[in-house]
């Protein structure tokens, strides 16, 4: 199987409301992303290749089996999920993704109709890249690309390194690449330091932006 260079980003959108799924899908398509929508956290995990018993599939990456038994890789570049969902909440889904060794690098964005500071900080602390207040607007989506690009660059760098090591041998399938401990640490540092800057910037921007007619995420205090 040939590894294709993906020039398009693929977003997995999770929301139990059909109306909101239709909306977010349209917003994402208008921004030229490929979109898959599911109506629950458990379906999202299924799509990402995590099975109910919490084990990951053998090739440890999002996959869909085709009829000839070969696993095709479905790359997901970002997960955007509603917070309030029956069963598994968006927060639960976020946690599961961040706890999974194969999925933790996928950026996750949370959407919510409620502006609850403690909820927002909890999600950001758990590793969410952004927290959008609903209804989500096209202007919000412009904040997604940097997160997807960062991950894609990291993935590509890792793949290239492995290919070099193999002396140009072709990789038959997507394999899970465990970055070296130091590299991972650096990555995490990068991620966490990047996390605080854009968040703060986003909040400041919101406070100062004159055409913002309604308050967005504001964190008055960080009491849990």
């Amino acid at each position: 199987m040939v590894m294709a260079e993906e020039s398009e980003f693929h977003v997995l959108a999770v929301d139990d409301s059909l109306l909101d799924r239709k909306l977010i899908e349209k917003l994402l398509r208008t921004s030229s992303y490929q979109v898959t929508t599911v109506d629950s956290g458990s379906k999202a995990l299924e799509f990402l290749g995590v099975h109910e018993d919490d084990s990951t599939s053998p090739d440890s990456s999002p996959s869909v089996s085709s009829s000839d038994g070969n696993h095709q890789v479905v790359e997901v570049d970002l997960v955007i999920t509603d917070y309030c969902m029956p069963g598994m909440t968006g927060y639960d889904l976020l946690k599961k993704i961040k706890e999974s060794s194969s999925l933790r690098n996928i950026p996750v964005v949370i959407m919510s109709s409620e502006n609850v500071p403690s909820r927002i900080s909890r999600c950001l602390e758990e590793g969410a890249e952004e927290f959008f207040l609903k209804p989500v607007r096209q202007s919000d989506l412009s904040r997604l690309k940097p997160h997807m690009m960062k991950t894609k660059l990291n993935d590509r760098t890792q793949r290239e390194e492995v290919m070099e090591e193999r002396g140009g041998e072709r990789c038959g399938r997507e394999i899970e690449i465990e970055p070296e401990a130091s590299q991972q640490h650096h990555q995490q540092q990068q991620l966490s330091s990047n996390n605080s800057a854009p968040k703060r910037k986003a909040m400041d921007e919101m406070a100062l932006s004159p055409d913002r007619t309604r308050p967005r995420a504001t964190i008055a205090s960080t009491t849990p």
Partner: protein, 150 residues
């Protein structure tokens, strides 16, 4: 009525819906998302809103008529209704849901029943107005008149 008159009527009617608070900015967002690849987007989304609302209003009426009132369930329904109305820009419906949730939290049955009536009223109003709006749009497009920009 000719295209020019229809167009004028549509523009005036739309302006009224916004100035009277029936619709808000989110409705404009929906209109702006509509394009040639999805020319019926707004109607489709609003239809989903109608379906959602009718289902939820039924559930709310049922839940409030029970012997043992499950306020958590009622709050969940109102939360959903608030969400849908917010997503389409049905501003007054959304507002009426907010007070509804307050009465739920206070476990105030009378308050909830009153709110349910209010929400039903607002829903009925916006449904009527949106149907009129779509009708005007359709008639304008049938004359070949150019639609006003959102």
């Amino acid at each position: 009525m000719d295209a020019l008159q229809l167009r004028k009527q549509l523009i005036e009617y739309t302006a009224e819906l916004f100035s009277e608070g029936f619709l808000d900015e989110q409705f404009t967002q929906l209109q702006q998302l509509q394009d040639e690849t999805n020319p019926n987007f707004v109607v489709e989304v609003v239809s989903l809103f109608f379906q959602d609302s009718e289902r939820l209003l039924n559930e709310l009426a049922k839940s409030l008529s029970q012997q043992e009132i499950d306020f958590k369930k009622i709050d969940a329904y109102v939360h959903q209704l608030k969400g849908s109305s917010s997503s389409v820009g049905a501003h007054r419906v959304q507002r009426s849901c907010i007070s509804f949730r307050d009465f739920c939290n206070a476990k105030n049955i009378e308050g909830c029943l009153e709110c349910l009536q209010k929400v039903k009223q607002e829903y009925s109003l916006i449904k009527d107005k949106l149907e009129t709006f779509f009708d005007l749009e359709q008639r304008l497009s049938a004359t070949g008149g150019s639609p006003p920009l959102p």
